[in-house]
Structure formats: structure tokens, C-alpha cells
Symmetry: D2
Subunit: 294 residues, 4 copies
Amino acid sequence: MKPTVGLIGLGLMGHPMGANLLKAGHELTVWNRTASRGDDLVAQGAKRAATPREVAGASEVVITIVSDPPAVESVLWGESGVFAGLRPGSVVVESSTVTPNLEKRAAAAAAAQGSEFLEAPVTGGTWGAEKGELVFMVGGEASTLKRVEPVLSAMGKRWFHLGPVGAGQTVKLAMNLLLEVQVEAFAEALALVTRAGVPGQSLLDVMQSSMGRSPLLDLKGAMMLKGEYKPSFPLRLMHKDLGLALDLANQLGVPLPAAAASREVLNAVKGAMTEDVDFSALATFWAKPSVRKA
Amino acid sequence: MKPTVGLIGLGLMGHPMGANLLKAGHELTVWNRTASRGDDLVAQGAKRAATPREVAGASEVVITIVSDPPAVESVLWGESGVFAGLRPGSVVVESSTVTPNLEKRAAAAAAAQGSEFLEAPVTGGTWGAEKGELVFMVGGEASTLKRVEPVLSAMGKRWFHLGPVGAGQTVKLAMNLLLEVQVEAFAEALALVTRAGVPGQSLLDVMQSSMGRSPLLDLKGAMMLKGEYKPSFPLRLMHKDLGLALDLANQLGVPLPAAAASREVLNAVKGAMTEDVDFSALATFWAKPSVRKA
Amino acid sequence: MKPTVGLIGLGLMGHPMGANLLKAGHELTVWNRTASRGDDLVAQGAKRAATPREVAGASEVVITIVSDPPAVESVLWGESGVFAGLRPGSVVVESSTVTPNLEKRAAAAAAAQGSEFLEAPVTGGTWGAEKGELVFMVGGEASTLKRVEPVLSAMGKRWFHLGPVGAGQTVKLAMNLLLEVQVEAFAEALALVTRAGVPGQSLLDVMQSSMGRSPLLDLKGAMMLKGEYKPSFPLRLMHKDLGLALDLANQLGVPLPAAAASREVLNAVKGAMTEDVDFSALATFWAKPSVRKA
Amino acid sequence: MKPTVGLIGLGLMGHPMGANLLKAGHELTVWNRTASRGDDLVAQGAKRAATPREVAGASEVVITIVSDPPAVESVLWGESGVFAGLRPGSVVVESSTVTPNLEKRAAAAAAAQGSEFLEAPVTGGTWGAEKGELVFMVGGEASTLKRVEPVLSAMGKRWFHLGPVGAGQTVKLAMNLLLEVQVEAFAEALALVTRAGVPGQSLLDVMQSSMGRSPLLDLKGAMMLKGEYKPSFPLRLMHKDLGLALDLANQLGVPLPAAAASREVLNAVKGAMTEDVDFSALATFWAKPSVRKA
């Protein structure tokens, strides 16, 4: 019989993950800070819980996917949080992008309550979440992973078991750094050619015939050329993730010069934007001020 | 009848280009500063010239592909250079990576002698050069491009006509910036995970399942994991190209923060290496000093 | 009559501040995590408390000067912390370098207990602390400042009332950024001339005849030339402060490119050092590996 | 008897240097690309030459102080340049800020004509030039310096003999890097405090009580607070000098992360300004777009 699943966080990633869990036949209980985000999932059969604690009480596998470390602290350790209602023998799957240390603390807290813990941040974007093709970067015990594989397989095609708790977030932060700096690289190249009077499309064409072509640059490059930045991977989240990567590197004594430089670009754009945009909007750093607030 | 071709520069790129020109049936005259680099081409039927001027005198299409702006200045304007022997009605195809301004000067000089000029820097690396799958970034007249397409097709599969002379190098410099910063991004991600105790192979695996995957990262990532840096795209040339991109950007007033940061990384590694290495050796910036001189 | 003073934190700054408070005739109660750091102050008449709470219970003015935000959280909010024993009507003077937000939280907590709060981070280094010539960057009510001026004057010559709580730390973080990047600038200039074969002393001489001369560069420049980095302002603390400045800037959307670049240099050096050093040891980023661990 | 002096270049620095040479009683011949810049010097007794060659023909000591390497190449090696008219036994004093290598070439050319050569770039700004308080960074033979000391003393108070030709420009480029990054540091600190709502004057006040205080920051800090950027040290020249410093560092394999980051800031501002401004206008990088073109 399929395990009952709880899902905490119904954002750009969590929402389609929930839809896929329902589609796969899991009994699903959901919670989101803004409850209405779950309306259609409820219409499709999900139960709505009033608190994360209630989700935990109703689930064998509890998945959390929220925006940042304070949000994870709140949904796990808050007064009405997961740890206030966790069922012994359950598994907590933490899929937010946070620090390795926070996951280690959460794993210890889960163990103290007789539960198992897996960190499983994801990559693949909203598109991957919708198609059920997410990739999970897993840290934790192999046996715990084994237990939740049926659940993961409802949402994604692949998972990498990267080591003990902490290894997943380390790789996740490194991956986001890679994605962000790759997009920064294209934005810089684009700024150079367009300021020199060469159409940006030319750069995109050549890039797509080069060794540097990636699905990410296909997608984000096209967004930059159109100047349309509907959030797929929101800039505010990438800004946060890059900050977490730099913090981790600074604890470890690892210099990250290009990531540090690019973080300040994201930062300037974040400070100037008036609405939620995709992180590829970092290209507006070079744009006419008309598209920026200040 | 196929045009007679002259080829000046038999380095990592020029040498396989010469082999492909011969294979395609062109009568070929070659010159290289270190003449012995052309021995096998001569054995395959190429004529060896004593000077670039001699190459020009023997050729309808003269291709130059040398290491940097001073080398281009020397082979074109030197006492025994191309412009000292250019045949009226011939075409000069300049495939080195240099500045847009240098190409404009060369185009004017060619025109003054009744010749045509095309800038046609390439991407694709030694692998592409050997397979005849180079991509040309062309600046110049469409009619000139038309004339030399049969020659280009012996060496590459695709060419992009990007605009007047200068547009080709602009895109080429932007592309090399993109490639370099993409590799820097992977190197930073790799430094982060390995210092945190996670195997680099894990990062490579996840990258290859992600939107950020590119043929370039497949290739350079594997080199970094092995720590083997046999030059495919030499670091000293990428260092030069990134400098040219930054110079162009600085003339245009375009800030390139991540490229600037990464150039200093390349620079530190260049200052510390004792032998010729691939530019992916920028990863040794984070290595134990044992693999570096200082 | 002089107010009774409590002093929590007897590090490089706190210790000489305590000595000056005793010299000025204040009844002084001290606490430090490593108690023995206070032995000589006790010998000079200070009382030793077992906990920060005990300090608070014995003092009209409680000064805290510890290493970082977690340390401030611990000495203020910990089980045996200041807020567990604060006397109504007392004043808390928080002189650590932390975030504006942490000071605002502390101010609110003090107010809730009927006490007043002043943030008063300092500049001037150990030298200034010993000579009683510190400069205080004060945020809080003017009336609160008025009350503690007699205490401040025992430790420093000047104080700037910069605005409400938060303004002091904002200026303090900005000042440390300025000091750090100024020293980075000298270290880069020094690396350039010495690698070019010009003696570093020449740069120091010219700097001292230039508009760029500062007491800081006189001091740190001499340390770099000698390669002696006895901690005056420890690198680990400057690394922390620069991180706090970058965090604040990233909340505000203010890009700080040179500070970000220099933080990564500090970071690399911190990761490679085996002992506690002054932040001017950032110059070893350019040194032969012999002086670095890795 | 005082040597006859030629002065080539009557810009912000050269012009007041010429006035001081006249005041000191030297017979002076001047040339400037825009001749009218010398009108008042001619009114005070200087002779006006039609070409740099004519200056050389009339002078025992020929001083050149022009804007950049191409300008030095032109006034020295041009058809009507200094080397076309240099008197045997004369001394060329090259005071522009250029590369060490260019000075070495110039020294060799002077020697080939039986003349002596001294590089002597200056620091002190227009203020120092007007007061006759420049500092010269000298590279060349001690005996040559000895010969021209009477001339230098008309324009400056101090000179440092830093080594053979090349050492002077090396230190000069390093010094300008130091000055520029120091001002960048203040601008970043200022951006941080003002965005946080603290008046910039507070930062200036605290800076002036700190170890980081320098005459440069007194001057440039005040300009930034007023938002008035009348060129004393023009941004376009500092941008050029920082580029030369980075080029030299990149030849030597010395990474300069903060200088590289700051160069891109200068660059962005240069690309956006519509008029000639002081380099302290780098602070407008953080300004509302109203003060910038784009």
C-alpha cells in the first residue's frame, strides 16, 4: 500500500509536486502559509491541514519544500510545526534549499523523535516539477532513501545519493552557483555584443552551435532577448541560494571570486526591481534604467 | 576549379585545418613560424613558403590563424608579410582571435590593395578542427563570404554571417568569455563540494542531469576531476582572449564583473604554471600548492 | 557618584577597556568565557562574576563586547545571560560588531525590562583601547547617551551619535569595510611592485608622501613588509565583519563589488592559515605557499 | 646657468608645471596639441614651438607629460616628434603615466641618439602641481637624476629614485591602483550607509576620526557628499591607469581582485557619463539614474 504523504509548501515547486503525488495515487495532506494556493489540489482530492503539525500527524512521509532557512525553522520547529506532531517511524524529506548545517540539526531532531530524515533538495525548475522529472540530491541513510523511493518516483525520474545528511545541500548549493554563474556569463556576453551594435540573437545562435550550449542557456537566453522575466526560478530565491553558497564557502575557506561578483549583480537588480522576476533578469543590470526602478 | 589556398599559422587549430583543406583537394601553401610544424602537411602535398608574403603570392584565398594581435600584425604588415605580396582580387580570411579594431584596419589595408577581406574566427576547439566541424563567426561582405564558402566548408560545417568586419570578433570574444566563465563556474562549484568532503564526481553526475549541462562542462569537468590538463584550448590563449574581451568592454563602457573576477583567477594560475596547460587548469587555483609552482 | 559598571567580554578590546574603567575609578564587575583573561583586572580591584546574569545584577551600566552575533545572543539572551538579571533603570551598552537588526532586537528586549539600551561599537584597535582613545559609533536615544558619557569617557575620547539604534552598527560595518578594502588595496599594490622586482619599501615610501597616506596603511604596510602578523585586528573578526557588511548590503540591494572581491581573498587566507593572525595577513594571498598551509 | 627646458603637454598637470618652471627662472619652450592651452604661459615668457621636434631642438631637458601610451608614442616617435629633433647630450624626462615597457623602449631610443632618459611620473594631483609640491617616481640612472634635480625641484618637493627605467612606472601604476581602490572603498561604504538611511556626513565624520583617514578621502569624500565632480584627477585617466596596472599584473601573473572589480565600476560610470568628471564620480555607480546618462 502506498504511504500517506504530507506536503508542506505549495510554491512554484511544491504545487506541481503535490499534483504529481495525487496523480500517483498517494493519499496527500497539504499545508501552505497562504492556504488558497492549495485549493485546486484539495479539489483533486488532497486534504488540507491547518498547521504543519497536523500534516505530520496525518502522514507517513512528510515533505517540506519552503523558501529559505527561516521558513524551514518555522515549519519544523515552530509551535505548530512538524516536530510538534511527528509520528514515530515516519520519514521527513526536506527538499528546501538551505544550509547543510540546518539539515544536520533537523536530522538530529527527527532521530530524537524516532523518525528518519532525508535531505532531498531538487533541481529541474517548475518545468521539471510539472513533468515529474525532478532530480533529487539526497543526503542521508541508504535505507531511508530506499523507503521513500516510491514517493520520490512520483515527482522525479532520478535521485543521487550523495552521502550523509549535508552532502545533498552542499551539492545543491554548488549546482545553483553553477547555474547562476552560467547565466551571468551569458548576460555579460550579451551586454558586450549588444553594446557593440551586434544583435543579441547572433550571440544566441552561435552559442547554440557551440560547446557551451546548455538547456539552461537556451531557456534563459531566449528570455533575455525578449526581456520577459516571468519567474520560473525567482531571482529572490537565487539571490538567497547564492548567499548560502558563499556563506558555506566562507566557513570552509574556499574563495569563489566569480560567484561573489555575480551575487553583487543579482543584488543590485534585486534592489532595483519592483516585481517578482526570474533570476535571468540579472541581465537588466546592463539595461536602460527605464526597465529598472532605480 | 578549387581556389588555391594559403594557410599561415599551423598551431593547434591551423594544423588540422590545413589537413582538411588538403583532404578537400585544395592546392595549399603553408607557413608557420616554426617551420617543422608543417612537415606532415608537406608530406601530404602542401607547398612550404619561406614567408607569409610568399604564401600570399601563391594563393587566391589567404587564411591567417595565429596566436594574438602582435602575431597578426607581424604576418600581415611585417616586412615579409601578407600585405607585401597580396594578389589583387584575392581574399584574406583572418581567423585568429583578435580585436574588432585590428580586423577593421586589416580590411582597409586589403581593400587598398584591391583584395577582399573577411574576418572569420572559429569555435569548436581542436576536436572541431580535426573533424572539420568548426563554426565560423564571420564579419564582412556577404559577397566575399559567398566566394570563400567552398573553402570554409572544407574546415567547418557552419558559418554565421554576423555583420560587417568587427562583428565576428565581437561575438567571438563574447563567446570565449561565456566559455571561460562557464568553466570557472564549474571549478568554483567543484572547489566548494570537494572542500566540504563530497566527491567531485557527485557534482559532475548531478550537473549532467541538470539544465546546466553542456558539452563543454562534460569535457572540462572530466579533465578537472582527473587533474589532467593537456592543452586543447591553452590557458595562455584564453587568458589573452579574456583580456581582449575586457578591453573591448572597457572601451564601450560595459562592466563585466564575473569575467573580470575570473580573469584574475586565470592570471594567478598562469603566473604559477610551469608548462602549457588547458584553460580548465584554472581549477588548480584551489589546488594544493604541490601542483603549482608558487 | 560614579555608576557601577559591568563588562562582559575581555578580549583584545574588552580587556584594556576594563583596565581604563578601573583606572577611572569605576566599581567594575567582569565576566569572560575564559575566566583567566580577567585575572589581572581582578588583581586591580575588579569583581569577577560567574555569569553575565551576575554581571547585570551588580551593575548600573552593562557593557558587552564579544566576538560575533552568536556570542551576543548567548551573553544577552542565554539562560544565565544579561536579560535574566538586568536591573530596572540600568543601561546596556552593546559594543560588539554585529548587525543593526540584532541591536534593534536587543534594544526592544532591554526596554521590555525597563532598561535603556545603547549600541556603541568602537573603532581604534587595541592601541586605541589601551590608550583610552577609542571612538564610539553610537545609536540610541540622546538621553541614554548623556547618561553613559562619563563611562564612555573612561575608554574613549570621542563618540558620534549617529541616529537611532541600528545606525551605529551600520556605520561600524561600513567603516570596517573601508578599512579592510583600503588594506586590500595596499596589498594588491604591494604584490604588483614586488612581483615586478621593485622593493616593497619603495611603495611604502611613496605612499607615505602621497594623498593616500593613512595611519592604517602606515601600520599595516609595515607589517606586510616585515611579514609579521601578530593580531591587532584579527583576520577572523574582520572576515566576520565583512560578511556582516555584505549581508546588510544584500538585504538593502546595494552592490559592493570590491568588498565582495576582497572578502574572498580574506576567506582564502583564513582557510589557509594555521594560527591567529592580523587581517593585514591578507597579503599572504600573494605569498609563496611556504607561509601558508595550503 | 639654469638648463633650458622643453615641456610637451599642458594639461591639468603640465600646465601648472610649466608655470612653476617659468617662476623658477627656466627658459621654457612649450608645445600642446591644443595650442591655446599655452597662451598664458607664452604671455609669461614661454616660447611656443610648432611641434614636439621643435621643443626638443630648443631644450637641454625635454619633459613630456601627456595623457596615455598612444600620445607618448606620438610625441616621441611621431614624424615631428622629440626623437626627430633631440639634441645630443640632452635629457628626456618622461612624466606621463604609461607602461614600464614603453619607458624602456623610449630610454633605448634616447640612448641611441646620445641622450639620457629618465622616467618620472608624478603624484600629487593638480593641487600639488600648482603648489610645486609634486612627488616624482623616478626610474633611470642616478647620474641622470642628479643632472635634472634642479629642474624637478622647480615643480616638486620630493623625488624617489626607485630603480632602473621601468621601476618608476611600476610604482606609479601601483600607487594609482591604491588611490583608486581606496576611493572605491569609501564609495562602497557611503552607498551602504546612505541606503540604510544614515547620512553620508556621519560616515565622513567617523572616517576622519579613524585610522583610515587620508588626505585623499578627506578630499574625495567631500566631493561625493556634495555630488560635485569637477575633474581634479579625471575619471577617464584613472580608468586608463587602472587598465595599465591590470595589464602589467596580468603579464606578471599577479591577481588583483579588488582592483579588477573596481575597474568595472569605473568602466560602467565612464560609459554612462556625458561630461568629463573626477574619478571620485565612481560613486555615481550607486546613484539614482538621473545623474547618469544610461
